[in-house]
């Protein structure tokens, strides 16, 4: 797992002339001696500015070198602590003004820390763009922000986190499935909500709408939407009717998308999520689950059956022109099973229909034959 994101600059494919070998040897020597020098300086506690620059140079050559990131933090902490201990509690006369003139009042020590943090965040931008999947870079940003939050006035910390949100949106514009960026976004939002004392659930919900509109096949955005909905409903203080309205709206959205491309797995996953909120055995509906996940509330078996019927009918319609789409048969079988778990006596779905769908599925998807065989036994088809 650790090696993902390691650049594959193979030396094998390129020419191995004497000149090329010589050049490589020199680069190795340079890298090794820089590494050695930095290591020695850390051991003897030489935290001068030149050490910091050498650390920057090493990290630009090799951002996966986690120990060097640790050294960088040791140096930064050293400066921060010295600043804070220096008793530099005077408030500067010439406070830099924020755009809104609402800059927090900072001591000279805090100003120094804020400046260093901002510089380091800048240093990271080209690196994170070049290595967007490098855990250590994300981790270092996160550490910088957390440390700044500890030492700086809330208002300044808030501005830093807002800057992070903007950067994160840029990273997601470059790769809308980068899970580092999505994880980091949820963290940024948590911090902004904590420091600002204001919920961002509406804005974040909007953001997922925007992301989905620009690319329907973005399961990461759909996923984040599913995480936001229960909170959104809670914060809107939604009654049963408002909840139903939102739920219906989500079905409409995803059904339209599915009609556009029934072969897209991301869309089916979101449909499954919506259906899972009706399923009493879903892991999210377990009493052991920590977060609130309710969408429809209260919810009766009649509601469940109503939605299952509606969706099974709607998905059956999707078959027309997409008879070779395995996801449709899978959905029909899965939702029928849920239906029969609640209402076994009803003739909404016949065994013959189920067996027919399964037969089609087996034809279309022989890779998973073992799963269909188990399904056949489980559903007694």
């Amino acid at each position: 797992m650790a090696s993902h994101g390691v650049p594959r600059v193979s030396s094998a494919a390129v020419d191995k002339s004497e000149a090329a070998k010589d050049k490589e040897r020199k680069r190795i020597e340079q890298y090794r001696s820089l590494e050695k020098e930095v290591g020695e300086k850390i051991r003897v506690g030489d935290f001068a500015n030149t050490t910091f620059q050498q650390i920057s140079s090493l990290l630009q050559q090799n951002p996966e070198y986690y120990t060097i990131w640790n050294y960088r933090r040791i140096l930064l902490l050293d400066v921060f602590h010295k600043e804070l201990k220096s008793g530099n509690n005077a408030v500067s006369e010439s406070q830099p003004e924020g755009a809104d003139g609402q800059q927090a009042t900072m001591t000279l020590a805090q100003q120094e820390i804020a400046m260093l943090v901002k510089e380091d965040l800048q240093f990271l931008i080209p690196l994170i763009k070049q290595f967007p999947k490098c855990y250590w870079i994300w981790n270092h940003r996160s550490w910088l922000l957390a440390t700044a939050t500890q030492h700086l006035p809330t208002k300044t910390a808030l501005q830093l986190w807002q800057g992070e949100l903007a950067l994160d949106s840029k990273m997601l514009a470059l790769d809308s499935r980068n899970f580092h960026a999505w994880d980091y976004r949820r963290k940024i939002v948590r911090e902004l909500e904590r420091l600002g004392g204001k919920s961002m659930v509406e804005a974040e919900f909007e953001y997922t709408t925007k992301m989905i509109q620009s690319n329907l096949s973005n399961f990461s955005a759909w996923h984040n939407r599913s995480q936001l909905i229960p909170r959104l409903l809670e914060e809107r203080d939604s009654d049963a009717e408002a909840r139903k309205k939102l739920f219906d709206g989500e079905f409409e959205l995803i059904t339209t998308a599915l009609y556009t491309d029934p072969y897209d797995q991301s869309l089916w996953s979101y449909h499954q999520y919506l259906m899972s909120t009706l399923d009493r055995s879903s892991p999210l509906n377990s009493a052991n689950y920590a977060r609130s996940t309710a969408v429809l509330s209260p919810i009766t078996n009649a509601d469940r059956l109503g939605y299952l019927e509606q969706e099974i009918e709607s998905i059956k319609d999707m078959l027309e022109g997409a008879e070779d789409c395995k996801y449709i048969y899978q959905a029909l079988l899965e939702y029928s099973r849920l239906y029969l778990d609640i209402e076994a006596g009803n003739k909404m779905v016949t065994t013959k229909e189920l067996a027919g769908w399964l037969a089609e599925l087996r034809k279309l998807d022989p890779l998973r034959e073992g799963r269909w065989r188990d399904m056949e036994m489980r559903m007694k088809l």
Partner: protein
């Protein structure tokens, strides 16, 4: 041990048809043996931050191919112990800081080379010290940090369970002692990371990802909680998500709509094995996909056919073939990615 990519590419050899694809064990053994001689390549030096894991990846492949003594045993032991830091954790190489990721690799190396007794001889109370480092990284919410700098991820929680169990310091292995870690809190954290699709993410609220499914499923397996945690319904749900990872090429991807990759194939199929659903994918096609990722001339396995080989993908490719029952390999333990006979002896599985 070099983690540099190359030198070759995974592909079907000239004149060879996919039908006569075979596992080129002799080539892979030689590939691993040669890794440490590549010091004239810059990438050898740029990958030092992974070195001890590289030894683990090479060693697993060799063990599974029944060539466990192909690397000099004294050298392997000395190198692993040279990565041990005063705080009881291991760095990736001598002088590198201690981190959970490399502590797991070092402990697995010591386990595979049967060197825990030697560790105790050289480092008094060595096992307990290492266990103390790992246990000390548990956070109040049950998860684990990677090191003192505090990054948390379900990968580290798995690493803790893996190493502690090999060292014999999981709570159930020492019922009469005060537990070193809060196991119920860790399990509750895994639950908080589970999603509607049955899969798991890096942290609560994160999207399901097959690497994270592997670490959570394996942690539950090591803790002996997998059956009660998932139940048959949960296994069906997770198994369905995992089985959908197989693509037409036979390879598996890590998330919906992503590319197939030999290492993802391992995270997915080992998880399926742990929940008894490995038969839900086409093993013949997957076997073929992995074999096509070999470099048939110089050894090594790549992520996809046509790409550069490396020891990381060699390890997970071979482990995958073992799980699929390849006749030339010994059995792998899906929760540890180590030979089953070794984990059986150490943790009684």
């Amino acid at each position: 041990m070099s983690l540099a990519a190359g030198p070759g590419r995974g592909r079907v050899a000239g004149g060879q048809t996919p039908a006569d694809l075979r596992l080129v064990i002799d080539k892979h053994v030689a590939y691993v043996q040669k890794l440490d001689t590549r010091r004239d390549e810059l990438e050898y030096h740029l990958t030092e931050h992974l070195r001890v894991s590289g030894v683990y990846w090479g060693l697993v492949a060799l063990h599974l191919m029944k060539h466990h003594d192909a690397l000099p045993s004294q050298g392997v032991l000395d190198f692993a112990l040279s990565c041990l830091r005063d705080n009881g954790g291991f760095g990736a190489a001598p002088g590198h800081d201690a981190h959970m990721l490399y502590t797991i690799s070092a402990v697995q190396i010591l386990a595979m080379t049967d060197n825990f007794a030697e560790l105790e001889k050289r480092v008094p109370d060595g096992k307990k010290k290492i266990a103390g480092f790992i246990a000390g990284l548990q956070q109040p919410n049950g998860t684990f940090a990677g090191d003192e700098w505090g990054e948390t991820d379900t990968r580290f929680l798995y690493g803790a369970f893996n190493s502690l169990s090999l060292l014999g310091y999981m709570p159930h292995q020492r019922p009469s002692e005060t537990p070193m870690i809060d196991l119920p809190a860790a399990i509750a954290h895994i639950r908080a990371c589970q999603n509607f699709d049955g899969g798991f993410g890096t942290s609560p609220g994160a999207e399901s990802h097959s690497g994270q499914v592997f670490v959570c499923t394996a942690a539950l397996t090591i803790a002996g909680e997998i059956d009660t945690f998932l139940g048959e319904d949960g296994k069906d749900r997770l198994g369905a998500w995992l089985s959908e990872r197989q693509q037409a090429s036979g390879g598996l991807n890590g998330r919906p709509e992503k590319l197939v990759d030999v290492c993802y194939s391992w995270w997915v199929m080992s998880s399926m094995a742990m929940i008894d659903r490995l038969h839900w994918i086409d093993s013949a096609k997957l076997t073929k996909f992995i074999l096509e990722c070999q470099d048939p001339d110089e050894g090594g396995i790549s992520d996809r056919p046509g790409d550069m080989v490396d020891v990381f993908h060699l390890c997970f490719g071979i482990a995958g073939l073992s799980l699929l029952g390849h006749p030339d390999l010994i059995e792998v333990d899906p929760a540890y990615c180590m030979p089953r006979h070794i984990t059986s002896k150490l943790v009684g599985r």
